[in-house]
């Protein structure tokens, strides 16, 4: 599936969730589902330091696709991270570089990307794109 198809799928998933409790339960569940990052990558080198919650991001390049794995010490952040990974992992560097992540706004989670949230998410998106640029050049 393309990045936009994946985003649309996620937007559909959220469409019928009206209560904030359900929305956050869904995000928390996504967090719990996220495949755990290999322990060897939960180091300073792969850490994207937010002010409050920490995010680890690792990327490999296989058969022309970038594979992301990630983790966070906060479960809501982890749920949001899980969405990013779902959408951007297993895509080509070019598609990742050009991706416009409109789903965040559409599912009403834009405030999680503000600077004051300090959850490392904004830096994570930037880092994912940087990985894509690096693999693109390689």
């Amino acid at each position: 599936m393309t990045i936009n198809e994946l985003q649309d799928e996620l937007i559909d998933d959220f469409e019928f969730i009206t209560e904030w409790e359900e929305k956050y339960k869904y995000i928390i569940d996504l967090g719990k589902e996220l495949p755990v990052i290999d322990e060897q990558y939960k180091t300073e080198q792969y850490l994207i330091k937010g002010c409050q919650s920490r995010v680890w991001l690792h990327a490999t390049y296989e058969n022309g696709k970038v594979i992301f794995t990630a983790d966070s010490d906060a479960i809501i952040t982890k749920g949001l991270v899980s969405m990013m990974v779902k959408i951007l992992s297993n895509q080509t560097p070019e598609d990742i570089m050009n991706a416009e992540l409109y789903f965040i706004d559409k599912v009403g989670l834009k405030d999680h990307l503000s600077v004051t949230r300090s959850n490392g998410l904004l830096s994570m998106i930037k880092q994912m794109k940087l990985y894509a640029i690096a693999f693109h050049k390689a």
């Binding site: 010490d73 906060a74 952040t77």
Partner: protein, 416 residues
């Protein structure tokens, strides 16, 4: 768990009437009535402060200490009235011992720079404590690096109390400044400042108190304390942001060089030599935040209209109530259990991250602070990534504490 009996507030304050003076408290957040428990970060503003801001720009705006015209005179007088109000509020001997700053951080930077320049030699020592806000660590680190001085740290125990035996061991004739917080912003600990001041003075050291978390909670009397320097911010005492106070004893301030150069702080300027103005203007270069300075006076009026001792008693009741009630939350661990606390309840809950709890509370309209509270060394000491901090002000209620507890129960249920 069993419910806890805490005697009800027996004082005479009409909290409903006090709340009514704060328009923001009747707003909703995420569709829920706002429960504002982030007063340690900043307090809300009463109508009289908001009105003063409006009135200043509507009728009195002018630069101060300069013009001979009516508006400038008026604004100058209003600004200087605040200086006198602060003098009275903290019981300083002279109004020129009250220096307007941008805030607590600015005051500490001013002091570290100017005191460092006039009084610190290589090998001298500065004492801070393990529970300082970053703003009472970094300016001293910068100064120590610059002057070849040594920064020493008074340790604390597991309850979040300073280990006074260690303080006495660290204090010596090389100690030139003891810079400590009156009340810890992340733990709520009220430090034994009078004892520290007396001991420091015996060794010839000066003492600076960071009163940012104290000034709106308890009575502060600089002459009684005999403290040399004291800093605080307007915005944590119901006043506007962008202004704060550095108090210093006259003779000590006189001995210090200016921090910044510019207008207002000079007596005469030639290209060869500039002579400096007298106190307090020597330390007040440039056009200040006039409006905030004037409105700080209105904030002092607000506090005095209730009485700081009444405020202290009511907030103590609230903190005790919250401390008891929070024990209902399974897996809760209070961070900071000093015998003497004020204003702040900091905690973590087993199996949850403070960030997640904070996000869910926000959805319920409850504003708390989560994170390291600019005290990373404190978080490292307690081995937590951060805490959830509920911090109180005079307008908070028992019902809001109950809302917090209910909110926490719900958040924990969702997260675990």
């Amino acid at each position: 768990m069993s419910s806890v009996v805490v005697s009800n507030y027996a004082g005479s304050l009409d909290i409903a009437a006090i709340r009514a003076a704060f328009p923001i408290l009747s707003t909703t957040v995420n569709g829920k009535p706002l429960v504002y428990l982030d007063n340690g970060a900043t307090t809300q503003k009463p109508q009289r402060v908001i009105d003063t801001i409006n009135e200043y720009y509507t009728r009195h705006n002018s630069n101060i200490h300069r013009g001979v015209h009516f508006l400038s005179q008026y604004a100058t007088d209003a600004y200087e009235v605040t200086r006198k109000k602060i003098q009275r509020f903290i019981n300083a001997k002279h109004d020129h011992e009250i220096i307007f700053t941008k805030g607590t951080t600015d005051g500490i930077n001013l002091l570290a720079y100017s005191f460092g320049k006039s009084s610190i030699q290589p090998g001298d020592e500065i004492l801070i404590s393990a529970m300082e806000h970053h703003s009472n660590i970094v300016p001293w680190q910068i100064m120590c690096e610059d002057r070849g001085a040594v920064l020493r740290v008074i340790p604390m125990n597991e309850k979040g109390e300073l280990i006074m035996e260690e303080f006495y061991k660290l204090l010596n004739s090389k100690t030139k400044m003891v810079a400590i917080t009156y009340i810890s912003n992340s733990l709520g600990t009220v430090n034994p400042v009078k004892e520290i001041i007396d001991a420091a003075h015996q060794k010839g050291a000066k003492v600076m108190l960071d009163a940012a978390q104290a000034i709106h909670h308890i009575a502060v009397d600089v002459q009684k304390l005999e403290v040399d320097f004291l800093v605080f911010s307007s915005h944590k005492m119901y006043g506007p942001t962008g202004v704060g106070i550095l108090y210093g004893k006259e003779e000590l301030l006189n001995a210090m060089p200016p921090y910044q150069g510019g207008g207002d702080m000079i007596k005469t300027v030639t290209f060869e030599k500039t002579t400096y103005n007298e106190l307090p203007f020597k330390f007040e270069a440039g056009t200040p935040n006039i409006e905030a300075g004037i409105c700080l006076g209105a904030a002092v009026d607000f506090i005095e209209s209730i009485g700081i001792d009444h405020i202290a008693a009511y907030e103590e009741y609230l903190l005790n109530y919250a401390t008891e009630q929070i024990k209902q939350i399974q897996g809760v661990r209070i961070i900071g259990e000093a015998a003497h606390k004020s204003g702040v309840l900091s905690f973590v809950i087993d199996g949850t991250h403070p960030y997640d709890v904070g996000v869910l509370l926000d959805k319920m309209g409850i504003a708390v602070r989560t994170g390291h509270h600019c005290t990373e060394p404190v978080m490292n000491f307690f081995k937590v990534p951060g805490t959830i901090r509920a911090s109180f002000a005079i307008y908070n209620t028992k019902e809001e504490v109950d809302a917090l507890i209910a909110g926490l129960k719900k958040a924990v249920m969702m997260l675990l």
